[in-house]
């Protein structure tokens, strides 16, 4: 089949690394071509070269068989390339239509023709099944919708090849499914798509072919139909990967945390958690499955003291803690991996050592005479955790902002896990991480469980919930719909419950009443 685009022997060096090492890659017309690899494997560099943001040190690019020079992104756009970056390039205060036409405005008597803009955008949106209101402001629409606006921008500029840089990293599973539908529509209408991702499951679900990069080299290209999860995972990581976490059956002991009748409102006053009761025992992982936005975040923030609940109790070893400050809750042995490491988990402009004492910074041995920092202890603590959790780079004075997502998350994990918590709350612990980092964090969670910690795991990834949990609670619209033993759960059944399905009418499948 003909190649619409070919990259031949592309090499790009940055000081100290070869980001792309003689990569040769052909994209066929009308295909969905996945590009997978861990963080730092060179995917983004390669696509940036294609889009004119970087210039290759050597190698050439052929478009429809002819050699082209892509000097800047404008040249790329003129060729018919469209790129949707992971971080959107949208003006928050403008409407969808205004963003789409920006720098390519339809004019009438030298004024912008907004009506035509809206109609064009509306037509494009309906042609490709990209549901979004052209008149809505960017700041008012969801992340998934903003992504559609980015795709519309590319289509409006007549993109024939669409490059999507990790588009699913910011989406919920439902939004991901909708994106896939859009991608199928685009493909049907002749658009070629390059799909960059970490997630092999998505590769298998959507693409025609897949190319794997590792450490700047192309490891190979496969027809998706002729490969499988295991082969791809090994190509990505370079060794055999534990796809399912190896774990012993749990040995739950006494109840560590119990939540009774908890009701929580969010900051806008909407009741997000409704009369939730749960128990988590020592030595078990209780997973909370649910579509994001069904109150999981508010539940966790109420337990950790960040929001005060409207009603109900949170008990730790029989003592009520719902009125305590976040600091006092921490001091009683509650550790928390927050869902958003940039907003909550880290102070990005602090160095590693300072981030590793966040929340411990008032305690012995990091403070002496109530006020003064003990730099020696702080550094020692940091060096120990950097070594134990294999955080890279190893310089404890380096600002965390400069770290990769995986290593940033390791900083959070190292801090929270090393406190020897009695109750550990992990919220989306592996979001946006590559396979190697996910494997590491999963093993650490199981190790905590085996040491007798009570673990509450909140995740939108059903795979994660299923592979780590001993019991699974399904949360829907602020309520716990049911609690199932993990052995009696599977993806289909949980998916059904997460969307509000009724347990007892699951096609007549008989399931034991919820555990406990």
């Amino acid at each position: 089949m003909e190649h619409i685009l070919e990259m031949k022997n592309i090499t790009k060096r940055f000081p100290g690394v070869v980001a792309n090492d003689a990569i040769t890659l052909g994209i066929r017309k009308g295909e969905i071509h996945s590009l997978v690899g861990e963080n730092g494997s060179g995917k983004s560099t390669l696509m940036s070269i294609l889009y004119g943001l970087y210039h290759a040190d050597s190698g050439e690019i052929l478009f429809k068989g002819k050699k082209v020079e892509i000097g800047d992104s404008r040249a790329a756009i003129d060729l018919g390339l469209g790129m949707v970056f992971q971080h959107f390039m949208l003006v928050d205060t403008l409407t969808v239509a205004e963003n789409v036409i920006l720098r390519a405005e339809p004019a009438r008597y030298r004024f912008v023709d907004y009506r035509q803009a809206q109609n064009t955008v509306k037509k494009l949106a309906s042609d490709y099944g990209l549901r979004v209101d052209p008149r809505a402001r960017i700041s008012d629409i969801s992340v998934g919708q903003q992504q559609r606006v980015e795709i519309l921008k590319a289509l409006y500029r007549h993109a024939q090849i669409l490059i999507l840089d990790e588009p699913t990293a910011v989406l919920t599973p439902q939004e991901t499914e909708e994106l896939f539908q859009v991608m199928r529509n685009l493909k049907q209408q002749g658009t070629t798509i390059v799909f960059i991702t970490h997630k092999i499951k998505e590769v298998l679900a959507i693409s025609d072919r897949v190319s794997v990069l590792r450490r700047g080299k192309l490891m190979g290209t496969r027809n998706t139909a002729e490969t499988n999860h295991r082969e791809l995972a090994e190509m990505v990581v370079g060794r055999e990967v534990l796809l399912r976490v190896e774990k012993k059956p749990s040995e739950p002991r006494e109840t560590v945390a119990s939540i009774a009748g908890l009701t929580v409102k969010d900051r806008r006053g909407t009741t997000m958690v409704k009369d939730v009761s749960l128990e988590v025992r020592s030595g078990e992982v209780l997973g909370i499955a649910g579509v994001e936005g069904n109150g999981q975040q508010q539940l966790v923030e109420a337990i950790t003291g960040l929001i005060k609940p409207e009603a109900g109790k949170v008990m730790l070893h029989g003592q009520p803690i719902q009125k305590l400050s976040p600091m006092n809750i921490k001091k009683r042995g509650v550790s928390y991996i927050p869902e958003d490491r940039h907003k909550r988990g880290l102070i990005l402009d602090y160095n590693v050592a300072d981030n590793l004492i966040l929340g411990l910074h008032t305690q012995h041995p990091f403070v002496e005479r109530y006020l003064f920092r003990n730099e020696k202890q702080i550094d020692e603590h940091a060096r120990r955790l950097v070594a134990d959790y294999d955080i890279r780079p190893t310089d404890i004075r380096q600002i965390v902002r400069t770290f990769s997502g995986g290593n940033q998350q390791k900083v959070v994990v190292a801090r929270e896990f090393s406190r020897k918590p009695q109750f550990l709350i992990c919220s989306q612990p592996t979001r946006g991480l590559d396979i190697g980092a996910i494997e590491f964090i999963h093993q650490e969670i199981i190790r905590q469980r085996d040491q007798g910690t009570a673990v509450l795991l909140v995740s939108a990834e059903l795979d994660e919930i299923l592979s780590l949990s001993d019991r699974i609670a399904v949360m829907y619209e602020g309520r716990i719909v049911t609690v199932l033993p993990a052995a009696e759960s599977d993806e289909r059944r949980l998916g059904y419950l997460m969307l509000g399905g009724d347990l007892h009418r699951t096609e007549g499948v008989e399931i034991g009443t919820s555990a406990e």
Binding site: T304, L306, S325, P326, M327, N328, K330, Y336, P338, K343, R344, G345, L346, I347, L348, D349, Y350, N351, D354, L358, G359, H361, T362, F366, V367, L371, F372, R373, R397
Partner: protein, 347 residues
């Protein structure tokens, strides 16, 4: 290592230094327009501010209040707040120090002077607590409130200095403070006084608070990422209030120094906008106490040298204001300045 940890690396130094140089270059264009030789004019500027021990003393004296107000702005900024109320806080501190200074005859110096200084600090601190509390508890923006509090401070001190504490002379000023409350002159006939020592101590204390104590860790955490600070068990509101209090106390020391060390009395509206220049000093000093120290000296020198340049050449003293403004713009447009450098390097 120590320097890097307190986030003052050589890279941070680059923009301020380049900004000053570029501003001086831009200033030379104006000197040419006036018809003078820029090299000669700048020579006068430099010699008159640093050319002799006496000139250096004058420069330091001019820099002293700016060290306090610069640090006040920097400290609040480290906690994520913009204290535009240093001017009002210094007036409140000044009037209280003056009142204590004129009130107690026959107190030993060892008690009277510290009492006047501490009372002034406390007054400025409390003054700044008001916007601090409003911000922390009700989310009212501190820029609005600190500006408003400035006006309250102007009119309150206007009233006090023309009413209950009006001195014996006709001018709107208090009586001279007792010698027991005065900051000693260090290098007469210049008005350099022991307030400069107080400033050095304050710089050291601020440095230690910010980078060597858990309080500083918390204050900076709140400034950099309040939601992460909250997650880390740090009380955002408590630290905001505390930082504003300390900021106000620092600002008020500028007023205290002016009253007890320079004028010897409170004079109505005496401040040549020391509180507002403090914003520029903090900006140029990158909100770091050591940076503030040098930035304050630069601004003090410009003032001292500018006055002399006005006297000795045809260049008006307003040139100094132009240079100051250029520095502020270049530092504020930090990315732009960096970009200029980068381009030059690649060409």
């Amino acid at each position: 290592m120590e320097l890097q940890q307190s986030s003052y690396s050589s890279r941070d130094l680059l923009v301020p230094v380049v900004s000053v140089i570029l501003a001086l270059l831009a200033g030379s264009v104006f000197i040419l327009i006036v018809g003078e030789n820029p090299v000669a004019a700048y020579r006068v500027l430099f010699v008159e501010s640093f050319g002799s021990v006496r000139n250096i003393a004058t420069t330091l004296q001019r820099a002293t209040p700016l060290m306090f107000t610069g640090m006040a702005v920097a400290f609040a900024f480290r906690c994520g707040m913009f204290n535009i109320g240093a001017e009002g806080q210094l007036y409140v501190g000044a009037i209280v120090a003056a009142i204590v200074g004129v009130s107690f005859a026959n107190l030993p110096r060892l008690i009277h002077l510290p009492l006047a200084v501490l009372a002034g600090m406390a007054a400025g601190g409390v003054w700044a607590l008001v916007p601090g509390i409003l911000k922390a508890k009700l989310g009212v923006h501190e820029v609005i409130n600190t500006i408003m509090m400035n006006f309250v401070a102007y009119y309150l001190t206007d009233y006090l200095v023309t009413g209950p504490f009006h001195g014996g002379r006709w001018a709107p000023e208090t009586d001279r403070v007792f010698p027991t409350a005065a900051l000693a002159r260090i290098f007469p006939p210049t008005r350099l006084n022991s307030g400069i020592l107080l400033a050095l101590v304050a710089i050291g204390v601020v440095y230690v608070i910010l980078w060597k104590t858990r309080t500083g860790y918390e204050i900076r955490a709140v400034g950099l990422n309040p939601t992460a600070a909250e997650y880390g068990g740090i009380s955002v509101s408590r630290n905001m209030i505390l930082a504003m209090g300390i900021s106000g106390a620092l600002a008020s020391l500028a007023g205290v120094e002016q009253v007890l060390g320079v004028h010897g009395r409170f004079i109505q509206r005496f401040s040549p906008e020391l509180g507002f220049v403090g914003i520029a000093v903090a900006l140029l000093g990158k909100n770091h106490p050591v940076g503030v120290f040098f930035a304050a000296i630069l601004f003090g020198a410009l003032r001292t040298g500018g006055a002399a340049m006005d006297r000795l050449t045809d260049v008006p003293r307003e040139l100094v204001v132009i240079i100051q403004a250029m520095i502020i713009m270049l530092v504020a447009a930090d990315e732009l300045t960096r970009g200029l450098l980068r381009r030059r390097r690649t060409v």
